[in-house]
Amino acid sequence: VSPFPAAVRRAMLLRTFVVQGSWNYRTLIGTGLAFVLAPALRHLYRDDPPALRAAVARHAELFNAHPYLAGVAAGAVARLEADGTPPETIARFKNAVRGSLGSLGDRVVWLMWRPACAVLMLSLVLVGAPWWAAVAAFLLVYNALHLWMRVRGLEMGLAEGLGVARAIREAPFEPLAERAGNAGAFLAGFAGVLALGWGGEAYRGLLLVVGPLALAAGILLGPRIRWVAVLALLGVMVAGLVAGNP
């Protein structure tokens, strides 16, 4: 049974969507975590204003997590506060989960899920689907995991308290990231070739020869290919201007 009424849990969930609103280089999302926890702390310390102010100050200190998993920490901290856990124990817990909630989210969402969903959207547009359908598919698929992580993460934190680390380990994040990576790699090859087709019928021969080289360069250089592309496009721009003004 949750120590918090539904209205408090709902307010916390909604606030997790803006947990990064005051992201800063001093406390990272510390102010944001206190913002998410405020409804729970108000409920717990409604008869003790000095304890409320002290609790808010404790939770506005340095903290960081992946935004979609910040609710896990917020839920667990709220549960620990409700259980009367000493502040030192809660501080140690926050320090312990900070790194793992950040790296898990980065690995699963930023590194795999988001690029896989984005390349799906790109593939759909390149294959000829209407823009709105590709965008709708992207937003639905991407946010299915996103919203599940936010909602389930907060529930898990509120239910498990200190045991939330075990619950996170048992969640199927790793197999999901593995499958997203497989789908993303396939779709990247698919969209890469379709992007070449966008170059125009008149240049089919050129693209047939240079296209595979461009794909290979992308694979070899990784994100650095952006700079190569910028230089190449600047070169085309200058050459077009020079040739147009003999």
């Binding site: 969507f17 609103g21 102010r53 790109l122 969209a191 170059g199 992308g218 694979i219 952006r226 201007l241």
Partner: protein
Amino acid sequence: MVPDVGTLALLALLGGLLSLDATSVGQVMVSRPLVAAGLAGLVAGNPEGGIVVGVLLEALHLAVLPVGAARYPEAGPAAVAAAGAYAGASGSNVALLASVLFMLGWGWLGGRTVEWLRRTNAIWSVPPEGPVEPAVVERLHLRAIGVDLARGAAVTLAGLLVLGVLLETLGWIPFREPLTRPALALSAAAAVASSLRLFGRRRLPLFVAGAAAGAVVLWLR
């Protein structure tokens, strides 16, 4: 081209709202370049142009990772500015090339303003030491979101004006553009392929299988 005042205001508001999506609010990914540029094209009256700009920008932005405090370009406002200004360029390839290049530079500049905001937040959005009322934390937090909205709108508006003037100027200069479209296609293809680095090079066989499927689709067209 510089849009009319009403469209400029709407696009600036759109850019501001989408800039919130990147970090401060939601992160539901409506700030992805293909989504943002498509919406900007709709607002500016040239949805097709917005989609073309969006496809190229999405490809070039695929491998950008917003991990921790890393420096990265901001896509949403720059994509809105690029698609909004390109909307009036009547399908010119040189305007498309200039818009894509501009977006890459403006996205970098937008990223620097995000860093400025984070430094400012460290001063203005962290509550003072010692016991503090929850209402104080809430006020500081919401004010930071408001500043981010204004920052995103300002970046978008400035981008629309600068790129609009640039495209109008380019419209007067003769330009030979036979290689523009294939160059954009090659850049987009290379950038999409670079995302394999994120998924892991051990998945190269899957990438090759996808490329073969793409070649079949192209051949059937």
